[in-house]
């Protein structure tokens, strides 16, 4: 499920190390274990944490891992994961966006009003909402890059302004807009026919395997060695197994919900963008060393503004999906735990707060962790207090792990 920038390969640029380097090798291996957890295999401890959480709640209530509850869980986390996906982009640049939750509420309100009061088609309303969210992100990105204001302050201010905008947009009397019976509402009540779900899943896995095989072939054509088993076969089987399990479980209840399909489509596209294209590489470069990136000719300001726009657009989409599920918008849209859960999802998933490290899949993994805790605690009838404490603590825990990994690994130099 992870995506790394390259296929693992053994490259022999130099001959075997001289005997003098043997002592260093031992230190090297201990450090490389830490580096692996901080880098390419960052998802392993997250999956372990998820396994523990699932095991715990299953012992408490056997319905937890039932297909009905898992369908509910996935539907619940789509909003968090979508917004967190945007957060991953800004975190990669060592920036932060605290306005995503308010932006999601404001954009969803705009969509709802356009569709309900102005009778726009659901599609147009959806696009208008996403465009508005992207525009808000772009403006913030521009202020951050052109004036050098810390993103923390810019987005904190924008958050309040956007919460104000929601109040202005909402109609005076009821203070809410119902989306019942609109195209927006059908978005989250639609489930894919089982066959179509299988086809889409197979297509995704095929694309993954194909891309990796291509990389292997190109590497071999250049006369360099690469292990097919490690680069294609093992990851391919793991991804296929995850895909088959997920679709089988969802199909045994109502089918794959449309929002879940949208989320996975986004993850696939952005995974490609971040790992396979120059733009993706530039994101990681700017996050690690903006000066070096600038001197290498990378348009740092542009990269940052694109990332903030993406965060805004994804926040808007997340907000609209939330409105679709809740059948309306109100003054409480985009408030509550939305912001904390989105940022927490990205960080728990493994995206570093210090920039330059992370993957778009972190948004999904982190949202699963947060969502499972919330869902599980609801299932066993825990109080809201317990939920808040658990979610807040796990965010702080994840950030602590991030700080330790950052300081103890090769990335230490990057954070100074």
């Amino acid at each position: 499920m992870t995506t790394s920038n390259q296929v693992p390969a053994t490259v022999t640029a130099t001959a075997s190390p001289p005997p003098a380097a043997r002592f260093e090798d031992r230190r090297f291996s201990r450090r490389s274990a830490l580096d692996a957890i901080a880098g390419q295999y960052r998802f392993v401890p997250v999956l372990l944490m998820l396994a523990v959480i699932w095991a715990f709640f299953t012992t408490q209530n056997s319905a937890f891992l039932g297909s009905r509850n898992l369908t509910g869980l996935l539907t619940q986390i789509v909003v968090t994961a979508t917004i967190a996906l945007g957060i991953v982009f800004v975190l990669l640049l060592a920036e932060i966006d605290l306005s995503v939750a308010a932006n999601s509420g404001a954009s969803a309100t705009l969509t709802a009003i356009l569709v309900v009061n102005h009778h726009w088609s659901a599609w147009l309303g959806l696009l208008a909402g996403i465009a508005a969210g992207a525009a808000v992100g772009l403006v913030q990105g521009a202020i951050v890059t052109q004036f050098g204001v810390p993103s923390f302050v810019v987005t904190l201010g924008a958050q309040l302004a956007l919460l104000g905008a929601i109040l202005v947009l909402l109609p005076g009397g009821t203070g809410q807009v119902s989306l019942f019976g609109t195209g927006i509402a059908t978005l989250s009540s639609t489930y894919l026919p089982p066959a179509l779900a299988w086809v889409l899943m197979a297509a995704g896995v095929a694309a993954f395997v194909l891309l990796r095989s291509l990389a292997v072939r190109e590497t071999r054509n250049r006369g360099m060695q690469v292990s097919f088993v490690r680069a294609v076969a093992i990851p391919g089987v793991l991804v296929a197994a995850a895909g088959v399990t997920a679709v089988a479980v969802l199909n045994s209840y109502l089918g794959v919900p449309l929002p879940v399909v949208i989320l996975f489509a986004l993850l696939t596209v952005f995974s490609y963008l971040t790992t396979q294209t120059p733009f993706g590489l530039h994101l990681y470069a700017v996050g690690a060393n903006p000066d070096a990136a600038r001197r290498a000719g990378i348009p740092v300001a542009r990269v940052k503004m694109i990332a903030f726009s993406l965060a805004g657009a994804l926040a808007a989409l997340g907000g609209i999906l939330a409105a679709s599920r809740l059948l309306g918008v109100s003054a409480s849209s985009g408030t509550g735990t939305v912001l904390l859960e989105s940022i927490a999802a990205a960080v728990i998933g493994g995206t570093s707060l210090f920039g330059g490290r992370g993957s778009v899949w972190d948004a999904l993994l982190g949202a699963l962790v947060i969502g499972s805790i919330s869902n599980g605690l609801d299932l066993i009838g825990a109080q809201t207090v317990v939920k808040y404490v658990a979610e807040g603590s796990i965010l702080v825990l994840a950030a602590t792990v991030d700080a330790i990994l950052t300081r103890g690994s090769l990335f230490a130099r990057a954070t100074k």
Partner: protein, 260 residues
């Protein structure tokens, strides 16, 4: 200085600075510096702190435009107002802080900002294999020792990181490479490795090198000519093609206290 000189290509130096001046708020950081760099020549610029070495380097690399004087490249007057002007002429700079991204591997760092990728219609996919192959070749040709091209460079040693920065400067087939304190942060053995790299760079690419350094021993070891700056002016120039200059001579010129 607009006399139309006949072009004598063999004798024209690669880079020529004539009476270059740099002011910082009325203070002369450089006052009327003349400097010539021949093709394939290694020129070292030495001097005490504040002598103007870095300013000179920044003028040639286009980071800080000069305030007066003339710069000729290949015998033709040029304007170096932005780093892009210099790179367009084939001037590459290896900065003292190396400008590497620790989270990226050697290949990604070598091609940073000039990645090879397919067209947008073909998905803009990076040509990873091609870049890796070219990186291998470059590293082998310069004799640099990098354990793995796929290790994030944050994990490599200072000498290896310096090597990567030097290798990166050669990717565009430069005609002149500027180096800012290439051995300042390195131990004895690693310094020797980098000096070797500098010699190989000249031998393999035939490009000229201007390096500024505090390490007089390294300078005497590798440079063909040594230019001494003091308080923004050029005070001495030693021909070191035969490696005959002594460090006493250099120290005397740098400090202005004549040798006994």
């Amino acid at each position: 200085m607009s006399t139309a000189t006949p072009t004598v290509t063999t004798a024209t130096p690669l880079l020529e600075l004539r009476q270059v001046v740099k002011l910082f708020g009325g203070v002369h950081a450089l006052e009327g510096i003349d400097l010539t760099v021949g093709r394939g020549e290694i020129v070292a610029v030495v001097g005490d702190n504040g002598a103007g070495k870095s300013t000179l380097l920044k003028i040639i690399s286009g980071l800080q435009p000069s305030d007066g004087g003339e710069i000729l490249f290949d015998g033709k007057p040029v304007e170096l107002r932005r780093p892009l002007d210099s790179t367009a002429l084939g001037i590459e700079t290896v900065y003292q802080d190396l400008a590497l991204c620790d989270n990226l591997d050697t290949v990604q760092n070598l091609f940073l900002g000039r990645e090879q990728a397919r067209s947008l219609l073909c998905g803009a996919r990076l040509r990873r294999a091609d870049m890796e192959h070219r990186a291998q070749e470059t590293i082998r040709r310069l004799g640099a020792k990098i354990p793995s091209l796929r290790t994030p460079v944050g994990r490599l040693s200072g000498g290896q990181r310096q090597s990567i920065a030097v290798c990166r400067s050669t990717l565009s087939d430069p005609r002149l490479v500027l180096m800012d304190e290439p051995t300042a942060a390195l131990g004895v053995e690693q310094s020797a490795g980098v000096l070797n790299l500098i010699r190989r760079l000249r031998a393999e690419h035939g490009c000229a090198i201007v390096l500024i350094s505090h390490a007089l021993r390294d300078v005497l070891d590798v440079a063909d000519r040594i230019v001494v700056l003091r308080l923004g002016g050029k005070v001495a120039e030693f021909d070191n093609t035969e490696r005959t200059t002594s460090s006493d001579q250099l120290v005397a010129a740098i400090t202005g206290i004549s040798a006994p």
